[in-house]
Amino acid sequence: MNMRLKLAMAIIPLGIIIAAVPENTTRPYKLSAVELLEEVKEGIQFMHPDEVADMVVQKDPSLQLIDVRDKDAFDKFHLPGAINIPIADILSVENEDYLNQDVKMNVFYSNGSTAANEAWMISRQLGYENNYVLQGGLNFWAETIMNPKQPASTSPDDEFAKYDFRKGASAALGGSTLQATTDNTPKAPKPVIKKRPKKKRVAGGC
């Protein structure tokens, strides 16, 4: 009897304390500030629009585009296959399954790269991997993929290869203007150049 009363006197006040205090819901950072600075300096999270366009055109299933702008901007225009997680909702529980996984590559994008980079930093500090940022965002995407600039005639061959790839990609992505820029400057080596991007795609598909 005595032992039980002593035990009760010790445990019940602890119980009252724990009932009265609100729950601790902080989510700790898994990376220290130094580690994050190293990663930020290297800039390994950036993906060039050419890489991403390649994956989109090939319908690569391991790619997941995440639009971090708000819903109105997403509804007006979004890249094919993108889901919308506005940056304000990035910590909510439903979205954790998209961000914290090791199956798909998540590529954040926004109009520039600021909001996407913010999303990347927050999710990187929470320890999530496989998250990347579209370099330059939609603005750079439009410049390079949607409206590629024809390289000058003295440019190296791979500039032409990139240009043809981008034209093809923008057509495949339902963008534009393949008709508008029908630049029929016939050049002898052109057919050869056109074949090279196709070979690259077949090799990459496997």
């Binding site: 009897m1 035990l7 019940i12 119980g15 724990i18 009932a19 009265a20 609100p22 729950e23 700790p28």
Partner: protein, 196 residues
């Protein structure tokens, strides 16, 4: 700081070693509480010995308070603690079967191994029965498979179902536990042990 192994403070192997040491501690406490005697365990059901109730509820209350206070201090992340998924029908049927075996045999699986380690032969026969039960279950699994996997409720916790916070439920459980200790004392007086 969280569960140490999740945050890579200790490796998986160290985790298992610590589990082994904690297991030795568990067996020690069981033996010192007298649970190697099948009379003490069966006494829980006949009412003359409520030691099982007191030991296990004290352990549960201390562990719960420990986890909640550690969460309060930020030393552990409660969302990372593994909770067994709830399969409702399996739990009910399995619990009834195990309860029947408990009363018949006077041991539960953990205390049986405890008693075997001090050389009790009735615990050895209990373990033989355990092995037979495992074999019957494995061979007859296709028959019980549907029941086994029925009604997966995920991992609900009682405080979620009752709509109260973890801390408040903790207090309720502590008060309920102490209430049960008093009821146990009363029962012990009411159902005296038959003298052998």
């Amino acid at each position: 700081m969280g569960p140490l192994v999740v945050y890579d403070f200790i490796s998986q192997n160290t985790n298992l070693l610590l589990a082994f040491i904690i297991g030795i501690g568990f067996g020690f406490v069981l033996e010192r509480s007298g649970f190697s005697s099948s009379r003490k365990l069966a006494g829980m059901f006949y009412g003359y010995d409520t030691t099982v109730l007191k030991v296990f509820f004290t352990a549960a209350v201390v562990a719960m308070l420990g986890l909640l206070f550690f969460s309060l201090f930020g030393w552990i992340d409660l969302s990372l603690i593994y909770i067994n998924p709830t399969f409702l029908w399996s739990a009910i049927v399995g619990g009834a079967v195990m309860g029947g075996g408990f009363i018949l045999g006077g041991f539960c699986p953990g205390t049986a191994f405890c008693a075997v380690s001090i050389g009790k032969l009735d615990a050895l026969s209990f373990i033989g029965g355990l092995v037979i039960g495992v074999l019957l279950f494995t061979e007859g699994f296709p028959l019980v498979e549907e029941l086994f996997y029925a009604e997966n409720m995920g991992t609900p916790t009682i405080n979620e179902l009752l709509g109260m916070s973890r801390g408040v439920f903790g207090l309720v459980l502590i008060l309920a536990a102490f209430g049960m200790f008093f009821v146990g004392e009363w029962a012990e007086r009411k159902f005296p042990r038959e003298e052998y």
